[in-house]
Amino acid sequence: MTATESPSGNADTQPQPVGDGNDNGDDNGDDNGDGDDNGDGDDNGDDNDNAVRAGFDLRGYTYDPQGLRPEDVDLGALTGLRQKDLRAIAHLAAVEHQTIRLLRDVLVTPSHAEARFTAFLTTWAYEQYWLAETLDAVLEVNGWAEEEDVPLRARMLRSWDDRVMPTVRAVRTNILGEKFVAGHMVTGLLDVLVTRLAHQRLAALEPRLVDLVDAVLRTKEQHVRFYTEQARGRLEGHPDAQRLARRMVRGWSWPGARFGDRDRIAGVLRHLLAAPCCRQLVEEIDSEVAALPGLTGQRVLRRELGRFARRAAPGR
Protein backbone atom coordinates (compact mmCIF):
# COMPACT_ATOMS: atom_id res chain seq x y z
CA MET A 1 0.00 0.00 0.00
CA THR A 2 1.54 3.27 -1.06
CA ALA A 3 0.41 6.83 -1.09
CA THR A 4 -0.21 7.28 -4.77
CA GLU A 5 -3.09 9.68 -4.61
CA SER A 6 -2.41 13.32 -5.24
CA PRO A 7 -2.84 15.97 -2.58
CA SER A 8 -6.45 16.80 -2.21
CA GLY A 9 -7.68 20.25 -1.38
CA ASN A 10 -10.94 18.88 -0.18
CA ALA A 11 -10.49 19.57 3.46
CA ASP A 12 -14.09 19.71 4.52
CA THR A 13 -14.80 16.02 4.29
CA GLN A 14 -14.68 14.55 7.76
CA PRO A 15 -13.36 11.12 8.46
CA GLN A 16 -16.51 9.15 8.28
CA PRO A 17 -18.08 8.79 11.68
CA VAL A 18 -19.18 5.32 12.36
CA GLY A 19 -22.18 4.99 14.58
CA ASP A 20 -20.49 2.77 17.03
CA GLY A 21 -21.51 4.22 20.34
CA ASN A 22 -21.96 0.84 21.93
CA ASP A 23 -18.38 0.39 22.91
CA ASN A 24 -18.66 2.46 26.05
CA GLY A 25 -17.26 0.70 29.01
CA ASP A 26 -15.65 -1.92 26.89
CA ASP A 27 -12.23 -0.50 27.25
CA ASN A 28 -11.69 -0.94 30.90
CA GLY A 29 -13.06 -2.78 33.78
CA ASP A 30 -13.87 -6.00 32.02
CA ASP A 31 -10.75 -7.78 33.02
CA ASN A 32 -12.52 -9.61 35.80
CA GLY A 33 -13.43 -12.09 33.12
CA ASP A 34 -9.90 -13.34 33.36
CA GLY A 35 -10.81 -15.96 35.86
CA ASP A 36 -12.12 -18.26 33.20
CA ASP A 37 -8.67 -18.67 31.79
CA ASN A 38 -7.59 -20.59 34.83
CA GLY A 39 -8.94 -23.92 33.85
CA ASP A 40 -7.20 -24.42 30.59
CA GLY A 41 -3.85 -25.57 31.81
CA ASP A 42 -0.59 -24.70 30.26
CA ASP A 43 0.47 -22.24 27.66
CA ASN A 44 2.20 -24.49 25.20
CA GLY A 45 4.51 -21.61 24.69
CA ASP A 46 7.03 -23.67 22.80
CA ASP A 47 4.74 -24.76 19.97
CA ASN A 48 3.73 -21.21 19.77
CA ASP A 49 7.30 -20.12 19.54
CA ASN A 50 8.13 -22.56 16.81
CA ALA A 51 5.15 -21.46 14.83
CA VAL A 52 6.45 -17.92 14.65
CA ARG A 53 10.13 -18.67 14.42
CA ALA A 54 10.51 -18.99 10.67
CA GLY A 55 10.11 -16.01 8.42
CA PHE A 56 11.07 -12.59 9.75
CA ASP A 57 14.84 -12.32 9.76
CA LEU A 58 15.39 -11.03 13.26
CA ARG A 59 19.13 -11.36 13.08
CA GLY A 60 19.31 -9.41 9.85
CA TYR A 61 17.00 -6.79 11.29
CA THR A 62 18.96 -6.24 14.49
CA TYR A 63 22.19 -6.34 12.56
CA ASP A 64 21.30 -3.68 10.08
CA PRO A 65 18.79 -1.18 11.44
CA GLN A 66 17.47 1.47 9.07
CA GLY A 67 18.13 4.31 11.47
CA LEU A 68 17.09 7.29 9.39
CA ARG A 69 19.10 10.19 10.80
CA PRO A 70 18.78 13.97 10.58
CA GLU A 71 21.93 14.10 8.48
CA ASP A 72 20.33 11.80 5.88
CA VAL A 73 17.75 14.44 5.07
CA ASP A 74 18.24 17.60 3.05
CA LEU A 75 16.76 19.84 5.69
CA GLY A 76 17.52 22.95 3.66
CA ALA A 77 14.88 21.91 1.16
CA LEU A 78 12.27 21.50 3.87
CA THR A 79 11.98 25.03 5.19
CA GLY A 80 8.80 27.06 5.03
CA LEU A 81 6.40 24.16 5.49
CA ARG A 82 2.78 25.03 6.17
CA GLN A 83 1.60 25.27 9.78
CA LYS A 84 -0.86 22.44 9.23
CA ASP A 85 1.86 20.10 8.07
CA LEU A 86 4.15 21.16 10.86
CA ARG A 87 1.45 20.45 13.38
CA ALA A 88 1.09 16.97 11.92
CA ILE A 89 4.86 16.43 12.01
CA ALA A 90 4.95 17.60 15.61
CA HIS A 91 2.28 15.08 16.49
CA LEU A 92 4.13 12.30 14.71
CA ALA A 93 7.40 13.28 16.37
CA ALA A 94 5.72 13.08 19.77
CA VAL A 95 4.25 9.71 18.89
CA GLU A 96 7.53 8.28 17.61
CA HIS A 97 9.25 9.61 20.71
CA GLN A 98 6.97 7.64 22.98
CA THR A 99 8.55 4.38 21.90
CA ILE A 100 10.41 4.04 25.14
CA ARG A 101 7.13 4.24 27.00
CA LEU A 102 5.69 1.47 24.86
CA LEU A 103 8.79 -0.50 25.59
CA ARG A 104 8.15 -0.13 29.29
CA ASP A 105 4.50 -1.07 28.92
CA VAL A 106 5.45 -4.26 27.17
CA LEU A 107 8.30 -5.04 29.50
CA VAL A 108 6.18 -5.06 32.65
CA THR A 109 3.97 -7.77 31.21
CA PRO A 110 4.91 -11.42 30.67
CA SER A 111 5.92 -10.41 27.15
CA HIS A 112 9.27 -9.31 28.54
CA ALA A 113 10.37 -12.93 28.81
CA GLU A 114 10.16 -13.23 25.06
CA ALA A 115 13.78 -12.75 24.17
CA ARG A 116 12.95 -12.53 20.48
CA PHE A 117 10.50 -9.76 21.18
CA THR A 118 12.91 -7.81 23.38
CA ALA A 119 15.66 -8.20 20.79
CA PHE A 120 13.29 -6.72 18.24
CA LEU A 121 12.20 -3.94 20.58
CA THR A 122 15.79 -3.02 21.37
CA THR A 123 16.49 -2.35 17.71
CA TRP A 124 13.09 -0.85 17.10
CA ALA A 125 13.60 1.68 19.91
CA TYR A 126 16.88 2.65 18.31
CA GLU A 127 15.28 3.21 14.91
CA GLN A 128 12.42 5.11 16.45
CA TYR A 129 14.76 7.37 18.37
CA TRP A 130 16.51 8.51 15.22
CA LEU A 131 13.27 8.79 13.32
CA ALA A 132 11.89 11.10 16.01
CA GLU A 133 15.10 13.10 16.09
CA THR A 134 14.84 13.55 12.33
CA LEU A 135 11.28 14.82 12.58
CA ASP A 136 12.45 17.16 15.35
CA ALA A 137 15.14 18.46 13.01
CA VAL A 138 12.52 19.23 10.36
CA LEU A 139 10.49 21.13 12.95
CA GLU A 140 13.60 22.95 14.04
CA VAL A 141 14.54 24.29 10.59
CA ASN A 142 11.00 25.56 10.34
CA GLY A 143 11.29 27.43 13.61
CA TRP A 144 8.48 25.40 15.11
CA ALA A 145 7.90 26.39 18.71
CA GLU A 146 8.13 23.13 20.53
CA GLU A 147 6.67 24.41 23.78
CA GLU A 148 3.19 23.31 23.00
CA ASP A 149 4.31 19.75 22.39
CA VAL A 150 6.27 19.44 25.56
CA PRO A 151 3.31 18.89 27.86
CA LEU A 152 1.93 16.13 25.65
CA ARG A 153 5.30 14.45 25.38
CA ALA A 154 5.90 14.69 29.08
CA ARG A 155 2.47 13.33 29.81
CA MET A 156 2.90 10.48 27.37
CA LEU A 157 6.19 9.55 28.89
CA ARG A 158 5.17 9.84 32.51
CA SER A 159 1.73 8.35 32.54
CA TRP A 160 1.01 4.71 32.76
CA ASP A 161 -0.87 3.50 29.82
CA ASP A 162 -4.15 2.34 31.30
CA ARG A 163 -3.91 -0.70 29.09
CA VAL A 164 -1.10 -1.88 31.29
CA MET A 165 -2.52 -1.78 34.76
CA PRO A 166 -5.24 -4.35 33.98
CA THR A 167 -2.51 -6.54 32.54
CA VAL A 168 -0.44 -6.23 35.66
CA ARG A 169 -3.49 -6.93 37.80
CA ALA A 170 -4.31 -9.98 35.75
CA VAL A 171 -0.78 -11.26 35.98
CA ARG A 172 -0.89 -10.89 39.70
CA THR A 173 -4.12 -12.75 40.14
CA ASN A 174 -3.79 -15.61 37.68
CA ILE A 175 -1.54 -17.23 35.19
CA LEU A 176 -2.34 -15.73 31.84
CA GLY A 177 1.27 -15.84 30.88
CA GLU A 178 2.06 -15.64 27.25
CA LYS A 179 -1.45 -15.20 26.05
CA PHE A 180 -1.03 -11.49 26.53
CA VAL A 181 1.84 -11.37 24.10
CA ALA A 182 -0.46 -11.86 21.12
CA GLY A 183 -2.50 -8.84 22.14
CA HIS A 184 0.62 -6.72 22.40
CA MET A 185 1.56 -7.81 18.92
CA VAL A 186 -1.82 -6.77 17.57
CA THR A 187 -1.87 -3.34 19.22
CA GLY A 188 1.76 -2.89 18.23
CA LEU A 189 0.78 -3.68 14.65
CA LEU A 190 -2.07 -1.17 14.83
CA ASP A 191 0.25 1.55 16.10
CA VAL A 192 2.67 0.96 13.25
CA LEU A 193 -0.05 0.74 10.61
CA VAL A 194 -1.69 4.00 11.59
CA THR A 195 1.54 5.97 11.98
CA ARG A 196 2.58 4.62 8.59
CA LEU A 197 -0.71 5.86 7.17
CA ALA A 198 -0.14 9.27 8.74
CA HIS A 199 3.33 9.51 7.22
CA GLN A 200 2.01 8.49 3.80
CA ARG A 201 -0.67 11.13 3.93
CA LEU A 202 1.86 13.74 4.99
CA ALA A 203 3.85 13.05 1.84
CA ALA A 204 0.71 13.17 -0.26
CA LEU A 205 -0.17 16.58 1.16
CA GLU A 206 3.35 18.02 1.01
CA PRO A 207 5.33 16.51 -1.89
CA ARG A 208 8.58 17.95 -0.56
CA LEU A 209 8.37 15.37 2.22
CA VAL A 210 8.30 12.41 -0.15
CA ASP A 211 11.95 11.44 0.24
CA LEU A 212 11.84 11.67 4.00
CA VAL A 213 8.62 9.70 4.16
CA ASP A 214 9.96 7.04 1.79
CA ALA A 215 12.78 6.40 4.19
CA VAL A 216 10.35 6.27 7.11
CA LEU A 217 8.16 3.78 5.25
CA ARG A 218 11.12 1.52 4.60
CA THR A 219 11.77 1.19 8.33
CA LYS A 220 8.07 0.71 9.07
CA GLU A 221 7.82 -2.06 6.50
CA GLN A 222 10.02 -4.24 8.69
CA HIS A 223 8.02 -3.38 11.79
CA VAL A 224 4.77 -4.30 10.08
CA ARG A 225 6.22 -7.63 8.99
CA PHE A 226 7.47 -8.46 12.45
CA TYR A 227 4.23 -7.63 14.23
CA THR A 228 2.03 -9.31 11.62
CA GLU A 229 3.98 -12.51 11.69
CA GLN A 230 4.14 -12.61 15.47
CA ALA A 231 0.46 -11.77 15.91
CA ARG A 232 -0.63 -14.40 13.41
CA GLY A 233 1.55 -17.13 14.86
CA ARG A 234 0.46 -16.44 18.41
CA LEU A 235 -3.25 -16.12 17.70
CA GLU A 236 -3.67 -19.15 15.46
CA GLY A 237 -5.23 -21.99 17.40
CA HIS A 238 -5.20 -20.09 20.69
CA PRO A 239 -8.76 -19.01 21.47
CA ASP A 240 -7.75 -17.46 24.81
CA ALA A 241 -5.10 -15.36 23.20
CA GLN A 242 -7.67 -14.31 20.61
CA ARG A 243 -10.14 -13.28 23.26
CA LEU A 244 -7.54 -11.22 25.11
CA ALA A 245 -6.42 -9.68 21.84
CA ARG A 246 -9.99 -8.71 21.00
CA ARG A 247 -10.24 -6.97 24.33
CA MET A 248 -6.96 -5.17 23.89
CA VAL A 249 -7.96 -4.11 20.39
CA ARG A 250 -11.22 -2.68 21.72
CA GLY A 251 -9.16 -0.67 24.18
CA TRP A 252 -6.82 0.62 21.49
CA SER A 253 -6.82 4.28 20.64
CA TRP A 254 -4.84 6.51 18.30
CA PRO A 255 -1.23 6.76 19.56
CA GLY A 256 -0.95 9.57 22.06
CA ALA A 257 -4.70 10.09 22.25
CA ARG A 258 -4.97 8.55 25.66
CA PHE A 259 -3.12 11.38 27.24
CA GLY A 260 -5.57 14.16 26.66
CA ASP A 261 -5.38 16.75 23.96
CA ARG A 262 -7.72 14.79 21.75
CA ASP A 263 -8.81 18.10 20.25
CA ARG A 264 -5.35 18.85 18.93
CA ILE A 265 -4.97 15.34 17.61
CA ALA A 266 -8.42 15.60 16.04
CA GLY A 267 -7.18 18.65 14.15
CA VAL A 268 -4.16 16.75 12.90
CA LEU A 269 -6.26 13.77 11.84
CA ARG A 270 -8.71 16.04 10.04
CA HIS A 271 -5.83 17.54 8.11
CA LEU A 272 -4.30 14.17 7.25
CA LEU A 273 -7.30 11.96 6.72
CA ALA A 274 -10.13 14.15 5.50
CA ALA A 275 -9.71 13.41 1.79
CA PRO A 276 -12.22 10.89 0.40
CA CYS A 277 -9.45 8.57 -0.73
CA CYS A 278 -8.56 7.98 2.94
CA ARG A 279 -11.65 5.91 3.49
CA GLN A 280 -10.09 3.24 1.35
CA LEU A 281 -6.79 3.43 3.23
CA VAL A 282 -8.53 3.20 6.58
CA GLU A 283 -10.49 0.25 5.30
CA GLU A 284 -7.27 -1.47 4.25
CA ILE A 285 -5.81 -1.17 7.73
CA ASP A 286 -8.98 -2.47 9.32
CA SER A 287 -9.06 -5.46 6.98
CA GLU A 288 -5.42 -6.18 7.66
CA VAL A 289 -6.20 -6.44 11.37
CA ALA A 290 -9.49 -8.24 10.83
CA ALA A 291 -7.67 -10.87 8.78
CA LEU A 292 -5.81 -12.00 11.89
CA PRO A 293 -7.14 -15.15 13.55
CA GLY A 294 -10.01 -14.34 15.88
CA LEU A 295 -10.30 -10.69 14.94
CA THR A 296 -12.80 -11.05 12.12
CA GLY A 297 -15.18 -8.15 11.91
CA GLN A 298 -13.12 -5.73 13.99
CA ARG A 299 -13.07 -2.26 12.46
CA VAL A 300 -10.80 -0.65 14.96
CA LEU A 301 -9.47 2.35 13.11
CA ARG A 302 -12.80 3.28 11.63
CA ARG A 303 -14.40 3.25 15.05
CA GLU A 304 -11.59 5.28 16.56
CA LEU A 305 -11.75 7.89 13.80
CA GLY A 306 -15.48 7.99 14.30
CA ARG A 307 -14.92 8.98 17.90
CA PHE A 308 -12.65 11.79 16.80
CA ALA A 309 -15.08 12.99 14.15
CA ARG A 310 -17.96 13.06 16.62
CA ARG A 311 -15.99 15.07 19.11
CA ALA A 312 -14.57 17.54 16.59
CA ALA A 313 -17.71 18.11 14.58
CA PRO A 314 -18.26 21.84 15.25
CA GLY A 315 -16.18 23.33 12.46
CA ARG A 316 -12.68 24.59 12.85
Binding site: G76, L107, T122, R153
Partner: protein
Amino acid sequence: MTSSGRERDVVGPDALARRRRTLYARSDTYRYTHCSGGWVVIRIDSRGRETSMVFDIDRFTKTSVRVHWDDLDFEEFRRNPLPPESLRTLRYMCDVEYHTVCYLRDMLVTPSQGDGEVNAFMTMWNREEFWHGEALAEILGIHGVTVDYSDLKDKRQRLGWRDRLSPVKQAVLANIVGRDFVAVHMIWGAANEWSAVAAYKRLAALEGHPVLAVLLKRIAAQEARHVAFYATQARERLARSSKVQKLARVALKKVWGPVGSGIMSEEEVTHVMGHLFSGPEGRKEIVTIDNHIAKLPGMAGLRIFQDALDARGIAA
Protein backbone atom coordinates in the same frame (compact mmCIF):
# COMPACT_ATOMS: atom_id res chain seq x y z
CA MET B 1 20.73 27.08 13.13
CA THR B 2 22.38 25.58 10.12
CA SER B 3 19.96 24.65 7.43
CA SER B 4 21.86 21.80 5.87
CA GLY B 5 21.53 18.43 7.48
CA ARG B 6 25.10 17.49 6.70
CA GLU B 7 26.43 20.28 8.87
CA ARG B 8 24.72 19.36 12.07
CA ASP B 9 27.77 17.83 13.65
CA VAL B 10 28.18 20.61 16.14
CA VAL B 11 24.95 21.02 17.98
CA GLY B 12 24.41 24.66 18.72
CA PRO B 13 22.95 26.19 21.85
CA ASP B 14 19.45 26.43 20.36
CA ALA B 15 19.10 22.74 19.84
CA LEU B 16 20.64 22.00 23.21
CA ALA B 17 18.40 24.46 24.97
CA ARG B 18 15.36 22.86 23.41
CA ARG B 19 16.51 19.37 24.29
CA ARG B 20 17.36 20.22 27.87
CA ARG B 21 14.19 22.11 28.54
CA THR B 22 12.40 18.89 29.24
CA LEU B 23 15.18 17.84 31.54
CA TYR B 24 15.08 20.35 34.34
CA ALA B 25 12.59 22.57 36.03
CA ARG B 26 11.60 25.64 34.14
CA SER B 27 12.96 27.86 36.90
CA ASP B 28 16.46 26.73 36.00
CA THR B 29 18.42 28.70 33.47
CA TYR B 30 21.32 27.68 31.31
CA ARG B 31 24.35 29.05 29.69
CA TYR B 32 26.54 27.38 27.15
CA THR B 33 30.22 27.49 26.57
CA HIS B 34 32.03 26.07 23.66
CA CYS B 35 35.14 24.20 24.63
CA SER B 36 37.33 21.70 22.86
CA GLY B 37 34.94 18.80 23.13
CA GLY B 38 31.85 20.67 21.93
CA TRP B 39 29.15 22.56 23.75
CA VAL B 40 29.06 22.30 27.49
CA VAL B 41 25.84 23.06 29.23
CA ILE B 42 25.98 24.96 32.49
CA ARG B 43 22.83 24.75 34.50
CA ILE B 44 22.10 27.58 36.93
CA ASP B 45 19.47 26.66 39.47
CA SER B 46 17.14 29.02 41.29
CA ARG B 47 19.74 29.73 43.95
CA GLY B 48 22.34 30.70 41.39
CA ARG B 49 24.43 27.54 41.74
CA GLU B 50 26.09 26.34 38.59
CA THR B 51 26.57 22.77 37.54
CA SER B 52 28.19 21.69 34.35
CA MET B 53 26.95 18.70 32.50
CA VAL B 54 30.08 16.81 31.60
CA PHE B 55 28.24 14.08 29.83
CA ASP B 56 27.31 15.13 26.32
CA ILE B 57 24.22 13.15 25.40
CA ASP B 58 24.16 14.33 21.80
CA ARG B 59 27.66 13.16 21.26
CA PHE B 60 26.89 9.87 22.99
CA THR B 61 23.85 9.08 20.87
CA LYS B 62 25.59 10.07 17.65
CA THR B 63 28.55 7.83 18.31
CA SER B 64 26.66 4.89 19.75
CA VAL B 65 27.33 1.79 17.64
CA ARG B 66 26.97 -1.91 18.16
CA VAL B 67 30.23 -3.49 19.19
CA HIS B 68 32.02 -4.84 16.12
CA TRP B 69 33.88 -8.08 15.78
CA ASP B 70 33.60 -8.75 12.04
CA ASP B 71 37.30 -7.94 11.68
CA LEU B 72 38.34 -10.39 14.41
CA ASP B 73 39.30 -13.95 13.63
CA PHE B 74 36.96 -15.93 15.88
CA GLU B 75 38.35 -19.15 14.35
CA GLU B 76 41.23 -18.52 16.74
CA PHE B 77 38.94 -19.84 19.50
CA ARG B 78 38.89 -23.23 17.75
CA ARG B 79 42.66 -23.38 17.60
CA ASN B 80 43.08 -21.84 21.01
CA PRO B 81 39.92 -22.48 23.07
CA LEU B 82 39.12 -20.87 26.41
CA PRO B 83 39.27 -22.95 29.62
CA PRO B 84 36.03 -23.99 31.38
CA GLU B 85 36.30 -21.48 34.24
CA SER B 86 36.50 -18.62 31.76
CA LEU B 87 33.58 -19.96 29.76
CA ARG B 88 31.58 -20.11 32.96
CA THR B 89 32.42 -16.48 33.66
CA LEU B 90 31.65 -15.47 30.07
CA ARG B 91 28.33 -17.23 30.27
CA TYR B 92 27.48 -15.19 33.37
CA MET B 93 28.48 -11.97 31.67
CA CYS B 94 26.49 -12.88 28.59
CA ASP B 95 23.34 -13.48 30.64
CA VAL B 96 23.82 -10.23 32.51
CA GLU B 97 24.21 -8.30 29.25
CA TYR B 98 21.08 -9.83 27.78
CA HIS B 99 19.23 -9.12 30.99
CA THR B 100 19.79 -5.37 30.58
CA VAL B 101 16.41 -4.99 28.95
CA CYS B 102 14.77 -6.17 32.18
CA TYR B 103 16.85 -3.74 34.18
CA LEU B 104 15.80 -1.08 31.71
CA ARG B 105 12.23 -1.96 32.49
CA ASP B 106 12.84 -1.53 36.20
CA MET B 107 14.19 1.93 35.51
CA LEU B 108 11.42 2.91 33.15
CA VAL B 109 8.66 2.37 35.67
CA THR B 110 10.08 4.99 37.98
CA PRO B 111 9.96 8.73 37.44
CA SER B 112 13.46 8.68 35.96
CA GLN B 113 12.00 7.88 32.59
CA GLY B 114 10.45 11.30 32.18
CA ASP B 115 13.67 12.97 31.18
CA GLY B 116 14.53 13.44 27.54
CA GLU B 117 18.21 12.94 28.12
CA VAL B 118 17.67 9.82 30.20
CA ASN B 119 15.42 8.33 27.53
CA ALA B 120 17.95 9.01 24.81
CA PHE B 121 20.69 7.39 26.84
CA MET B 122 18.59 4.38 27.79
CA THR B 123 17.71 3.68 24.17
CA MET B 124 21.33 3.59 23.02
CA TRP B 125 22.61 1.93 26.18
CA ASN B 126 20.10 -0.90 25.98
CA ARG B 127 21.14 -1.61 22.40
CA GLU B 128 24.85 -1.52 23.17
CA GLU B 129 24.40 -4.00 26.02
CA PHE B 130 22.29 -6.26 23.80
CA TRP B 131 25.21 -6.43 21.37
CA HIS B 132 27.62 -7.23 24.19
CA GLY B 133 25.39 -10.22 24.82
CA GLU B 134 25.41 -11.16 21.12
CA ALA B 135 29.20 -10.94 20.92
CA LEU B 136 29.73 -13.11 23.99
CA ALA B 137 27.07 -15.58 22.82
CA GLU B 138 28.97 -16.00 19.58
CA ILE B 139 32.18 -16.87 21.41
CA LEU B 140 30.33 -19.26 23.71
CA GLY B 141 28.71 -20.85 20.65
CA ILE B 142 32.09 -21.63 19.15
CA HIS B 143 32.87 -23.50 22.37
CA GLY B 144 29.65 -25.49 22.12
CA VAL B 145 27.78 -23.44 24.75
CA THR B 146 24.53 -22.36 23.13
CA VAL B 147 22.82 -19.24 24.40
CA ASP B 148 19.76 -18.72 22.26
CA TYR B 149 16.59 -16.76 22.66
CA SER B 150 14.63 -19.68 24.07
CA ASP B 151 17.24 -20.18 26.81
CA LEU B 152 16.89 -16.55 27.72
CA LYS B 153 13.16 -16.87 27.72
CA ASP B 154 13.35 -19.90 30.02
CA LYS B 155 15.60 -18.01 32.37
CA ARG B 156 13.35 -14.98 32.46
CA GLN B 157 10.32 -17.17 33.04
CA ARG B 158 12.05 -19.04 35.83
CA LEU B 159 12.54 -15.75 37.62
CA GLY B 160 8.78 -15.98 37.84
CA TRP B 161 6.67 -13.90 40.14
CA ARG B 162 9.50 -12.11 41.76
CA ASP B 163 10.60 -10.78 38.44
CA ARG B 164 7.14 -10.07 37.15
CA LEU B 165 6.18 -8.14 40.20
CA SER B 166 9.37 -6.23 40.65
CA PRO B 167 8.38 -3.44 38.25
CA VAL B 168 5.16 -2.99 40.16
CA LYS B 169 6.93 -2.86 43.48
CA GLN B 170 9.48 -0.55 41.97
CA ALA B 171 6.79 1.80 40.71
CA VAL B 172 5.06 1.86 44.06
CA LEU B 173 8.31 2.48 45.87
CA ALA B 174 9.27 5.17 43.40
CA ASN B 175 5.97 6.93 43.81
CA ILE B 176 6.48 7.07 47.53
CA VAL B 177 9.96 8.52 47.42
CA GLY B 178 9.33 10.34 44.17
CA ARG B 179 12.06 11.77 42.06
CA ASP B 180 14.65 11.07 44.73
CA PHE B 181 14.54 7.50 43.62
CA VAL B 182 16.15 8.43 40.34
CA ALA B 183 19.38 9.20 42.14
CA VAL B 184 19.39 5.68 43.56
CA HIS B 185 18.97 4.25 40.07
CA MET B 186 21.82 6.34 38.81
CA ILE B 187 24.33 5.43 41.49
CA TRP B 188 23.26 1.81 41.18
CA GLY B 189 23.87 1.99 37.45
CA ALA B 190 27.24 3.65 38.00
CA ALA B 191 28.29 0.83 40.36
CA ASN B 192 27.24 -1.79 37.81
CA GLU B 193 29.05 -0.11 34.94
CA TRP B 194 32.22 0.42 36.95
CA SER B 195 32.22 -3.26 37.82
CA ALA B 196 31.60 -4.16 34.17
CA VAL B 197 34.67 -2.20 33.09
CA ALA B 198 36.74 -3.88 35.80
CA ALA B 199 35.40 -7.35 35.03
CA TYR B 200 36.15 -7.17 31.30
CA LYS B 201 39.60 -5.73 31.94
CA ARG B 202 40.36 -8.48 34.43
CA LEU B 203 39.15 -11.28 32.21
CA ALA B 204 41.20 -9.95 29.29
CA ALA B 205 44.28 -9.85 31.51
CA LEU B 206 43.71 -13.26 33.10
CA GLU B 207 43.19 -15.03 29.80
CA GLY B 208 45.75 -13.26 27.69
CA HIS B 209 43.89 -14.63 24.68
CA PRO B 210 44.75 -12.44 21.66
CA VAL B 211 41.26 -12.26 20.13
CA LEU B 212 39.30 -12.25 23.37
CA ALA B 213 41.42 -9.41 24.70
CA VAL B 214 40.63 -7.18 21.71
CA LEU B 215 36.89 -7.80 21.91
CA LEU B 216 36.76 -7.30 25.67
CA LYS B 217 38.68 -4.07 25.33
CA ARG B 218 36.09 -2.79 22.86
CA ILE B 219 33.29 -3.76 25.18
CA ALA B 220 35.03 -2.20 28.17
CA ALA B 221 35.40 1.07 26.23
CA GLN B 222 31.63 1.19 25.79
CA GLU B 223 31.10 0.36 29.45
CA ALA B 224 33.33 3.32 30.33
CA ARG B 225 30.99 5.61 28.41
CA HIS B 226 28.10 4.18 30.40
CA VAL B 227 29.99 4.97 33.58
CA ALA B 228 30.29 8.58 32.44
CA PHE B 229 26.55 8.90 32.08
CA TYR B 230 25.54 7.23 35.32
CA ALA B 231 28.24 8.86 37.41
CA THR B 232 27.42 12.33 36.06
CA GLN B 233 23.74 11.81 36.71
CA ALA B 234 24.37 10.38 40.17
CA ARG B 235 26.70 13.21 41.15
CA GLU B 236 24.20 15.84 39.97
CA ARG B 237 21.23 14.30 41.65
CA LEU B 238 22.94 13.35 44.91
CA ALA B 239 24.31 16.87 45.29
CA ARG B 240 20.79 18.24 45.44
CA SER B 241 19.91 17.12 48.96
CA SER B 242 21.13 15.16 51.91
CA LYS B 243 17.83 13.31 52.04
CA VAL B 244 18.60 11.82 48.64
CA GLN B 245 22.09 10.91 49.79
CA LYS B 246 20.72 9.07 52.81
CA LEU B 247 18.29 7.14 50.66
CA ALA B 248 21.03 6.12 48.22
CA ARG B 249 23.34 5.10 51.06
CA VAL B 250 20.75 2.86 52.62
CA ALA B 251 19.90 1.31 49.25
CA LEU B 252 23.52 0.53 48.44
CA LYS B 253 24.25 -0.83 51.90
CA LYS B 254 21.15 -2.94 52.41
CA VAL B 255 19.83 -3.83 48.97
CA TRP B 256 22.65 -3.69 46.50
CA GLY B 257 24.39 -6.83 45.27
CA PRO B 258 27.00 -7.43 42.56
CA VAL B 259 25.52 -7.16 39.08
CA GLY B 260 23.80 -10.40 38.16
CA SER B 261 23.22 -11.48 41.75
CA GLY B 262 19.48 -11.03 41.33
CA ILE B 263 19.31 -13.32 38.32
CA MET B 264 22.08 -15.89 38.73
CA SER B 265 22.54 -18.43 41.51
CA GLU B 266 24.75 -17.49 44.43
CA GLU B 267 27.12 -20.24 43.33
CA GLU B 268 27.67 -18.54 39.99
CA VAL B 269 28.11 -15.13 41.60
CA THR B 270 30.79 -16.54 43.88
CA HIS B 271 32.54 -18.25 41.00
CA VAL B 272 32.69 -15.09 38.91
CA MET B 273 33.73 -12.80 41.75
CA GLY B 274 36.42 -15.28 42.82
CA HIS B 275 37.62 -15.91 39.28
CA LEU B 276 37.99 -12.25 38.42
CA PHE B 277 38.72 -10.47 41.68
CA SER B 278 40.59 -12.80 44.04
CA GLY B 279 44.22 -12.08 44.77
CA PRO B 280 45.98 -8.71 45.05
CA GLU B 281 45.42 -7.64 41.43
CA GLY B 282 41.70 -8.32 41.59
CA ARG B 283 41.38 -6.65 44.95
CA LYS B 284 43.10 -3.57 43.60
CA GLU B 285 40.38 -3.18 40.94
CA ILE B 286 37.68 -3.63 43.55
CA VAL B 287 39.18 -1.04 45.87
CA THR B 288 39.32 1.39 42.94
CA ILE B 289 35.59 0.97 42.33
CA ASP B 290 34.80 1.50 46.00
CA ASN B 291 36.89 4.66 45.91
CA HIS B 292 34.97 5.97 42.89
CA ILE B 293 31.70 5.42 44.71
CA ALA B 294 32.98 6.94 47.93
CA LYS B 295 33.75 10.16 46.07
CA LEU B 296 30.13 10.72 45.12
CA PRO B 297 28.27 13.20 47.35
CA GLY B 298 27.39 11.65 50.70
CA MET B 299 28.92 8.26 49.93
CA ALA B 300 32.19 8.61 51.84
CA GLY B 301 33.23 5.44 53.64
CA LEU B 302 31.05 3.06 51.64
CA ARG B 303 32.89 -0.09 50.54
CA ILE B 304 30.18 -2.24 49.05
CA PHE B 305 32.37 -4.13 46.59
CA GLN B 306 34.96 -5.10 49.19
CA ASP B 307 32.14 -6.15 51.51
CA ALA B 308 30.66 -8.29 48.74
CA LEU B 309 33.99 -10.10 48.28
CA ASP B 310 34.52 -10.53 52.01
CA ALA B 311 31.02 -11.88 52.48
CA ARG B 312 31.83 -14.59 49.93
CA GLY B 313 35.17 -15.43 51.50
CA ILE B 314 37.16 -14.25 48.48
CA ALA B 315 40.62 -13.46 49.72
CA ALA B 316 42.67 -10.48 48.66
